[in-house]
Subunit: 249 residues, 2 copies
């Protein structure tokens, strides 16, 4: 690991900005970065690590850099389904942006990785202080909301294969490799379908040369082909996020 020249005029605790891979952190103004940086903490995010628990206070906001967070809505009878994913393009803890201190949903690392986090009070103070920072996180929250709406659409109207393709594409957008380290079981939980249904659908993908599968891992081979399977159920949240946040996903 090399020492970054850009970090020389900052104190030891402040992470260097040049190697920040979270898009929100990278995109904000230097002033806003300066506001957050002293409170940011580098963190490893292991798979299945819980970042938010429903109806519990949010302790930290996580800026993911590698890996994927699943946000899962749960009801009283323990029915559950994923309502959104978060990766390097976004952040967790959107209720804080709305002035609430509690998590609505369950959120945990679906694919392990790393990132930075900030304690909730420091985050709230920062967005209270900087209108431009608040505007940025509001847009990010809106982008997430659009994703949730289209998840509702896909859940109600798309077939299993279409929804599975959509999920793979959303994960792929957030990963640096074509390999998705996940079991069929977890894909099934996220989509709210049978594990066996996922197995059959992935088989079909594999036979068509769209993916390669190994135990606990699958690799995208023909992304365009997967996009064709997902059809119009994939894409709108992605273009809307680009419109709202700028060209970087």
């Amino acid at each position: 690991m090399t020492i970054e020249a850009g970090a020389t005029f900052m104190n030891d605790a402040t992470p260097a900005r040049d190697d920040v891979r979270n898009r929100l952190l990278a995109k904000m103004s230097v002033q806003d970065w300066a506001l957050l940086a002293p409170h940011l903490e580098d963190i490893t995010l292991k798979e299945r690590q819980v970042v938010e628990v429903p109806n519990k206070p949010i302790t930290h906001v996580y800026f993911v850099e590698t890996g994927v967070v699943s946000v899962v809505a749960v009801n009283a009878e323990d029915h559950r389904i994923e309502v959104g994913v978060i990766g390097k393009e976004g952040m967790t803890g959107t209720p804080l942006v709305f002035g609430d201190d509690r998590a609505q949903h369950s959120a945990y690392m679906q694919i392990g990785g790393s990132g930075k986090r900030i304690a909730a009070p420091a985050f709230v103070a920062a967005i209270g202080q900087s209108p431009s920072l608040r505007a940025l996180v509001l847009k990010s929250a809106q982008a997430f909301m659009i994703q949730t709406a289209h998840t509702a659409l896909a859940n109600g109207r798309a077939k299993l294969e279409e929804r599975l393709a959509r999920w793979l594409l959303m994960a792929h957008d957030r990963l640096d490799s074509d390999a998705v380290p996940l079991t069929h079981e977890f894909l099934a939980v996220m989509l709210g379908v049978r594990r066996a249904g996922v197995t059959v659908a992935l088989h079909s993908f594999e036979r068509r040369g769209l993916i390669a599968a190994r135990r606990g891992q699958l690799t995208l081979i023909n992304r365009t082909g997967i996009e064709e399977v997902a059809g119009s159920f994939y894409g709108i949240p992605e273009t809307e996020r680009k419109r709202l946040m700028g060209e970087t996903l």
Copy 2:
């Protein structure tokens, strides 16, 4: 119609506050009300009247007082499904709260009624000026977001009868009578199912004494029974809204 004493010290264009039935307008501080009131316009909201068009600028924010708005997500292949409903508890135009000027979804009156509206620029100016007003509409936006997430859950996991019961309850919460003036066709569009499927399900409800049905109209008879049908797919967004906004729904 009697002349309200409370209106005497306001100018002619300013609606009297006492008879405001929209919960958000009724709940805000006098200062925030004074900020909005001069720009509020009484309006009749006929059924099927369009209030937002996807990808088009939002012209007005609507504060519904009677009737119900459907917010419907649409994709490129014209698949569509309702992602939320808005009545007297809320407002349309949430993207404006996030700093965006465009509608994501289609929004129209599913059940006709009336309300007040304000031109988008005046609304944006007001929330820019008053932090307390901004906080209020942010919480309302969050409540809507929770509703959307649970719609995604219901779409993915609930059966037709459960989803239909959920919809009826959400509509009933927003109406002043037990009569829901809607055809099976429109219920089907909102739920993303067949019209014939809705007919059969409503029949079952009727046989069980939960509702009474006439052409283009159905009446809730046993709300508790309908709640039992919806099970845990109904309720969380409602209690969360109460928590966020205070005891009034």
